[in-house]
Symmetry: C2
Subunit: 235 residues, 2 copies
């Protein structure tokens, strides 16, 4: 029987069979949980149906947690867990609380001494890093780069410093429609000894994880305007 804990339940990143990216045991746990804190109710329902068609969605409770949620409304979501029932956190894609609003509810659970239980699943950050060939002993994920051109260039220069001085891989993301502009800028701003890994559609049919020197990329810029992509920089 699933114990009373806040289960952090990863979701597939792409349209694949779940047994490609999730352990069988995750599905067993999901089937025993009645209360879910989710980024989006509709996609959470779709995920649960994909886990097991026999799950009766109408018997489940969903609490929505996303950028529209007020911080003061989060603690009450944990009432079933405080009462001894298992709860699940499900985000749109990938691992809850990584580049994701789930961290707020985990922090509240921790502050109240409630048990938190992360499950295994796909993370484009981690899989991109594994596939890049870059330093996996020291790395930083920075989320989205600043939109302002000046701040953005400064951020790229900061990253270059950390690659050179601290031997640290730098990982970041961009809104898909700005991906192409970002790659062009990286190739222009970074010196030739810096390498860029572009990891697109991880776990999907179009998965490509390719590392090249920035000047090599400049010769054949890829079209990433609609593809979820992780960028990694190293030397």
């Amino acid at each position: 029987m699933t114990e009373a804990a806040l289960y952090l339940i990863p979701v597939q990143l792409s349209d694949v069979e779940l047994d490609t990216v999730l352990p069988q045991n995750n599905i067993q746990i999901v089937k025993e949980i009645k209360h879910f804190i989710v980024e989006n109710v509709r996609s959470a329902r779709r995920f649960l149906k994909k886990c097991d068609r026999s799950i009766d969605i109408d018997t489940l409770t969903f609490y929505e947690l996303n950028r529209h949620t007020r911080i003061e409304d989060i603690p009450a979501m944990l009432t079933p867990l405080i009462g001894g029932e298992a709860m699940g956190v499900i985000s749109e894609a990938g691992c809850p609380a990584i580049a994701d609003p789930g961290a707020d509810v985990v922090a509240i659970a921790q502050s109240r001494g409630l048990k938190v239980k992360p499950l295994v699943g796909p993370s484009s950050i981690l899989m991109g890093l594994m596939g890049s060939g870059f330093n996996g002993q020291s790395f930083a994920f920075l989320g989205y780069l600043p939109i302002d051109a000046g701040q953005r260039t400064r951020k790229l220069k900061d990253m270059e410093q950390r690659i050179v001085r601290e031997d640290q891989t730098q990982i970041f993301i961009e809104t898909p429609y700005r991906n192409n502009a970002l790659v062009a800028e990286i190739c222009k701003v970074m010196p030739p000894h810096i390498k860029l890994c572009i990891a697109t559609d991880i776990t999907g049919d179009g998965e490509r994880i390719i590392t090249r020197g920035v000047k090599q990329w400049l010769n054949q810029l890829p079209d990433l305007s609609k593809v979820p992509t992780i960028f990694l920089l190293y030397k």
Copy 2:
């Protein structure tokens, strides 16, 4: 049929059933691979037998890649892949190339334009971060802290700066027999508004992922002298 690629194959972190931490599809892929680059041959064999007892280990080729391997011996390991055969990389525990020697061979594969394919599996860094409640939009993994007392204190102070100025979660590890001394030092050096998450035995029977203020930890220091542990700091 498994395509010709360098598969990065995660291994369980603790003594659990594989279906708790690995997707079923990983096992299918493993069964079709004949050439493995491994951190340690004996534990790789044990892992393969655990994947499927029917695997005939004696028909497989193993290349050992660890800190004793000479860099110049690595490229030749990729010969089967260049010849069109799938290869696997297996480390001692967790995800290859993350806090691990596998990154060297991935870098060589990338430089030769060979396909690299990371698979899903448990990462104590990522699972510790998910469970901590700390910022998952910006985080850094720093590997082992310096052994020298002065450098170590300076490193902790650097981390404090990055938490405060950059809002970045700081993640690191220590050799288990030094874990207790490290926790005591962190609690002494860090100001009261800093929180420490101690994540021990992730995915194992003794899993505990607990976040508290550094001064709270000081009142009840845990015994971590023999347990694999990930440390996370944030505010």
